[in-house]
């Protein structure tokens, strides 16, 4: 009886030590849920959700403080994915949310006065230029967040939607007629 108790106690102590050790040794830095949510968010860093970037919004969702329908660039699909991840019902966007087609900022280089205000506003450093020099957008890095549009004192930044070209064209969902079965 006693030996059985001792064996069990010994096993418990050893396993407890292993668990305690691994809790310290293999500790996960940060909140893994935040990273998972952040991976779904589109990373436009546009702030339309009311947070300064995608990560703060992800943190807020993980903390249960925000709804999952605050990200227009993510679209309906983003909501679906978040709902799936968090195990909640998907909710539609609010009435005044406007979902725009994907766009890239374009600086009218003739009118740019080189004030650097847009450079300071860009969340992903996608604008190059210097004071009193013309600025230009690095198209491949632009997320289309529109944060540079408002600060421009001469309104020379526009957001033309990305055109469909042969290089970015994709196959469409098949549309065909179905036969009526009488």
């Amino acid at each position: 009886m006693l030996s059985a108790l001792l064996v069990m106690a010994g096993v418990a102590i050893v396993l407890g030590a292993i668990l305690g050790f691994s809790a310290i040794k293999f500790r996960v830095e940060g909140n893994p849920l935040v990273d998972k949510i952040d991976a779904i968010l589109p990373q436009t860093q546009c702030g339309q959700c009311g947070f300064p970037g995608c990560k703060p919004y992800a943190t807020s969702i993980a903390g249960g403080e925000s709804e999952i329908n605050k990200c227009p660039p993510g679209g309906e699909e983003g909501i679906q994915k978040l709902a799936e991840l968090l195990g909640v019902e998907p909710i539609p966007f609010g009435g005044d949310t406007e979902i725009k087609p994907k766009a890239v900022a374009l600086i009218d280089e003739d009118n740019c006065i080189g004030c650097t205000l847009c450079i300071q506003a860009c969340p992903v450093d996608a604008i190059v230029g210097a004071a009193k020099q013309m600025h230009t957008i690095v198209e491949s890095e632009c997320t289309g967040c529109e944060l540079c549009v408002a600060p421009c004192p001469v309104d020379c930044i526009s957001m033309p939607p990305i055109e469909e070209k042969i290089t970015n064209w994709k196959w469409k969902y098949p549309v065909y007629s179905l036969a009526r079965v009488n």
Partner: protein, 481 residues
């Protein structure tokens, strides 16, 4: 000779080539007009001598029906060549020959137009078997059959070059058994040239001309999912590509023309040697279309694309042009729901489960479609062909594939944006810290200077000039990271 040639800058797999000429330039036959850009790319040449009249977007044969960048060339009729520079393949390394083929614009002429120089880069894999693909891609197409009958010596000498460069052990030539004349012509020529090649008659079953299918039939080896043939020691070239490689190296000629089958609802169907960039309407005019023709297909009846207009040019990939009519190609009857009869499973050459892939693609469950090996689908269209409900299965698969690709790209861009945003935040934070440090150092320096000045004033001596000043602010503000 066509009245004008429209030459797209992207006629190959990979990236488009970069224009090297401008409107108004006079070019010679074989002159480079498009420089390859990026790892997978090909050069584009002027197919005849003449004047470039425009470099702009023109309609091209593409399922999107969108225009693409093309050069328009008005031939001067002289057909004047540039200086050709043949090379002896025995005297050069594989890298030199690869570069030569890249600059000669040699791409796979079976239809996929993958740049041939990439296929010669075998890396760490040893090629045991070189296969020449003499099996036509699809019904109706006969351009390779004709090529083997008429140009067997050039094809075989091209194969010898490939064997030499790849250091391949054996050379197998696969020809479908419905082309006895081609088989005979190739066998005779092999005997005459004294090469140690084997001609194998393969059964004529669509899609037997697919690379992975042909390799399986001829060697018994199966190319694993997501792998390339060279990883199992096999490399495969189309017979027309082999001939082009021979001409590019031994004669120095870049790829300027190809043999195309023009057939279907026309009075004189046949194979024609046409310059790259020839407008399809001028080719059709030569074979006289029948009155009830109501459209054209580029490529074969199974995988070809419907042409948006006949003004599009012939490109390196154009192995066939079919004039269609309602009698020849009746429009597909309306689709019925899938009844899970699994006839598509029976015919799938890659042994997929098309009916499952159909459900997943239709429901946009792309993850599941991927686990069911959607990307192994070669889009041969056999499943759509046999489907008793007439469901356009391949269209669904193409849709799903391109959605998955776009999503992967978006994910990549999002990751990049995240990284840039995080770095920006880190940088702003760092700048703030540096500024604070600089400010503190300045204050400290100012304080030290003041104390010193007071000390100096007290002593009243002239020692102040020899005293070193307090550490400058830039030195003190150096970041610690």
């Amino acid at each position: 000779m066509p009245s004008r040639l429209v030459i797209p800058f992207k006629q190959h797999g990979g990236e488009a080539s970069k224009p090297q000429v401008k409107a108004g330039d006079h070019v010679l036959k074989g002159q480079l007009i498009g420089m390859p850009e990026g790892y997978i790319s090909g050069a584009i040449h002027a197919p005849t001598s003449g004047t470039i009249t425009a470099i702009d977007e023109q309609p091209v044969a593409h399922p999107s029906e969108l225009p693409d960048l093309c050069a328009t060339l008005i031939p001067d009729g002289k057909d004047e060549w540039i200086q050709l520079e043949p090379v002896d393949y025995r005297e050069h390394t594989s890298e030199v020959l690869q570069q030569k083929l890249r600059m000669a614009g040699v791409v796979g002429l079976g239809g996929a137009t993958f740049p041939s120089d990439i296929k010669l880069r075998t890396g760490k894999y040893k090629i045991n078997t070189l296969i020449l693909n003499g099996a036509e891609c699809e019904p109706y197409i006969t351009c390779d059959d004709l090529l083997m009958r008429e140009h067997a010596p050039e094809i075989l000498r091209g194969a010898e070059i490939l064997r030499h460069v790849l250091d391949a052990g054996e050379v197998l030539i696969g020809i479908e058994d419905n082309k006895p004349e081609a088989i005979e012509a190739m066998r005779q020529e092999i005997a005459e040239l004294g090469f140690d090649f084997d001609v194998v008659a393969v059964p004529t079953i669509y899609p037997g001309g697919g690379v992975k299918q042909l390799i399986k039939v001829m060697t018994g080896l199966e190319v694993p999912s997501g792998k390339l043939p060279n990883e199992i020691g096999v490399q495969c070239f189309n017979v027309a590509t082999s001939r082009t490689i021979f001409r590019a190296l031994e004669l120095g000629e870049p790829l300027l023309s190809r043999i195309v089958t023009i057939t279907g609802n026309v009075r004189h169907p046949g194979n024609y040697d046409a310059l790259i960039g020839s407008p399809i309407d001028e080719l059709i005019a030569g074979v006289e279309k029948l009155p009830d023709t109501n459209g054209y297909i580029m490529g074969g009846p199974m995988m070809g694309i419907r042409l948006p207009s006949v003004e599009v040019p012939l490109v390196k990939a154009t192995n066939c042009i079919i004039a269609i009519s309602d009698k020849l190609f009746p429009p597909a009857p309306p689709a019925l729901p899938c009844i899970r009869c699994t006839r598509c499973v029976e015919v799938c050459p890659v042994e997929l489960q098309p009916q499952d892939l159909y459900w997943f693609s239709k429901a946009k469950e792309f993850g599941k479609a991927q686990t069911f090996s959607l990307f192994d689908c070669i889009e041969c269209g056999a499943c759509s062909y046999v489907c008793p409900s007439h469901i356009p299965l391949v269209q669904y698969f193409r849709f799903a594939k391109s959605e998955i690709r776009v999503r992967a790209l978006e994910k990549q861009n999002a990751d990049k944006a995240r990284e840039r945003h995080e770095f920006r935040e880190y940088r702003i934070e760092r700048e703030k810290k540096e500024k604070a440090e600089r400010l503190a150092a300045k204050e400290k320096a100012a304080l030290a200077a003041k104390e010193k000045a007071a000390l100096v004033a007290q002593e009243g001596a002239a020692a102040s000039t020899t005293e070193p000043p307090a550490p400058t602010s830039t030195e003190a503000a150096l970041p610690k990271e």
